[in-house]
Structures are given as C-alpha cells and as structure tokens.
C-alpha cells in the first residue's frame, strides 16, 4: 500500500479508519505523508501513515522526516498541505483543525529545495 493507493480507497473506508484511530488515540493526529512527485531527487518514505502527538510543532515533524530520509547534509526540506507550507511554530493540532480532509486525515507532501548550494551548482 502506498499513499497514492490509500487515497483511492473508498471515502467511507477512510472516514471509518480515521474515526477509529482518532477514537483510540485522541491525543494523536493521523497524518498521511507522501513525497511531492516533482521532488524526484528525494527518496520515498517507506511508510506513509503517521500518528504524531497533537502538541508537536511542525519543526519536530520536519526534523523526524529528514532524519528518516537520510537527507544529504546540504538539503533543506519543506512540507506542504494543500500547496501551502506551514510555519515551524504551528502545532499539529492547529494544522489538523484548519486543514484536515473530509475523511478525517491530514494529508501532507514533502519536497526539497536544496539550500546552500543547489541543483544548479556546477
């Protein structure tokens, strides 16, 4: 199962799954994370369904994901929700409240912008 395949599951199934996981873990935010398809230079995450404590800041999420992806030292890393990049200081709870999908999950994509020396480096 990939994030893309997950999104093609029937809406009712996803709704039910989100409801179930929220009930079991009321203090967690269920987040579906996938790579932006244009970020061809980045590796794929080997999992895509994450539960993060709702008090986590975006900065913590970024840090964990970068670590997991073993990103090259000079890469920066960005998350997008509906094409918008959240700030580091937003909590996952506030992101969830404002951006959750109708099915009850929060969907995010990650992308890179190589900082401090980029793709165009000769």
């Amino acid at each position: 199962m990939s994030a893309a395949a997950f999104k093609t599951k029937p809406f009712e199934d996803r709704l039910e799954e989100a409801r179930g996981v929220r009930e079991r873990f009321p203090d967690r935010i269920p987040i579906i994370i996938e790579k932006d398809k244009r970020a061809t230079e980045l590796p794929e995450l080997d999992r895509f369904k994450f539960l993060f404590p709702s008090h986590f800041f975006v900065v913590q999420l970024l840090y964990v994901l970068k670590e997991r992806l073993h990103l090259p030292q000079t890469d920066a890393f960005y998350l997008f929700i509906n094409d918008q990049a959240p700030t580091n200081s937003q909590t996952l709870q506030s992101l969830y409240d404002n951006n959750k999908n109708e099915d009850g999950f929060l969907y995010m994509k990650y992308s890179s912008q190589a900082a401090f020396g980029g793709e165009e480096e000769e």
Partner: protein, 287 residues
Amino acid sequence: MESLAHRIREKLSKVPVVSTFTKTGTITVEEFICAGDLLVSKFPSWAWADVAPSKRKKYLPAKKQFLICHRVPSLLGVNVLPTFSDAHTEGDWIDFGSSEKAVPVEIDELSDDDKEKPKESIDVDDVDDIDDIDDVDDVDDIDDVDDLDDLDDVKPVESKPKEKVKKESCRLFDVSITYCKEYRVPRFWIQGFDEDSKPLANSDVMSKEINKDYAGKTVTAEPHPFSKIPCLTVHPCRHGQVMKAFYDQLRNEKGELYYTVDVYLILFLKFVGSVAPAIQCDFTTSL
C-alpha cells in the same frame, strides 16, 4: 573565517544598481529595501533598525540600515527533537506518541508485544507497490499556487504557547538581516540571550540551536556588521543560487515568475530559517 581581505572586498565592491534578480537571485539595495518594507508591513515582529550616524552604511537609507526581529523564543533545542527511534508501530501506523496514553484496545487488535517494542524495524520490502505512485495523476500539484493574496490573510504572530518554553530553558534570540554588498544578497544573523537578557555564548547557541548539518560549516560566528558583536551567521555565498531556484520553482504555466522581488525576504526566511529550526523567525504560512 571573516578575513581582512573580505572586509576590504566588502568595502570596495560597488553598490549594485542594475536588477539581476531574475537571472542570479541576487538583489540590489533598492530591492532589499522594497522587500524589507513588505516584510515589516506583513510581520510586525520585524522592524527596520537604524544605527549611530557614524556607523551607517551610506548606500542604505538612514532609518533602514538593517532588519531586526527582537527576542524570538526558541521552541526547543534541536538536540531534544524526537527521532525515529522514539516511534513504534501501531498496526500500519508509525506512532510517535507514548503508548501509555493510548486508549486500551482489544487484545486481538494489538498485542502487548507490539506495544513494548520501542521500534519495529521497518522493511522497505514491505512496500511492494511503490511503483503505483507514478500511475496516479490525481495528486494535487504544487504548481497551482494561486494564492499570493493569502499574504494579506497572514495574521500577526500570536504569542507562543508559553508552556512549551520552559522558564529554566528560556532562550531568546535577536535575529537580524543585513544587506551584503559583496554577494548582493541579504545576510542572516542570530544572537542568543538567556531569560535575564545575558548574551549566550555563540558556541552554546551553535551546539544547541543550529542544525548539526550546518554548524561550523555554513554557519559561523562573525562580528555583526553594525554592532560588531560576534554573532552566528549563515555564509551568503550560495544565497543567490538558492533564491533563484526558489523563485524558479514557483513559475506559472507561462514560465513567468509567480512572485515578485518584494516577497524576496519572506521566501529568504523560509529557507534560511532551516539552519536554526527552533528559532521562530519564519511566520509565513501561505507561501
């Protein structure tokens, strides 16, 4: 290392007047002022700063010598950020919460065994259909960025959740942006203070706040061009390239730049902020 040679170069380099920003990602003084004005108007935590007349850079307006954001809290030291090894699996979920807090579940759904394991090895082979990703086209595309107007909606920064910034570990930072004439780009500076406003040692800030990938490499301690106090700064030699790449990524269908030079500093903070992820100087949400 900031050498004498550098200072001489900075002195001798001409003040750029011709805009080359679409080609090189670098900006002129005029563009710096214009982008600074927008930053200050959208994000009231940022302000223009002036210095004693003798210390002013003549190529900058008197009241707009550099940009400063005073006493920004650090949410946490990078070193206390969670890691993947803190996570455990819950069915097909990777869970970063502590398992004790979970509402008890039926035993057949989740064995105790699963709960106890701090980390289950995640095997890439489990993902057998990663190829499917390419086949799916219904993924929203970032290209559709159509909401520059959202800049207007950005709310002034609300006060940070106080309980997260513990008193004993309260660390505040003065973040400033100067114009670097030599590289024709903004330059980012950080100076740390404790809760009694005593300056923090740069080595301490470097080890606790600066992303290890950058500490001592891209980020070094150098005298601030105005205060002359040694601060941590990000070396500007790549900023132009990075900013150009940033803007190029946000071109519209016709290949025109989507954003104008006014939002330069807002974009700049987005990328430069990643060197010190816990220091909250990037307030933008909608870019």
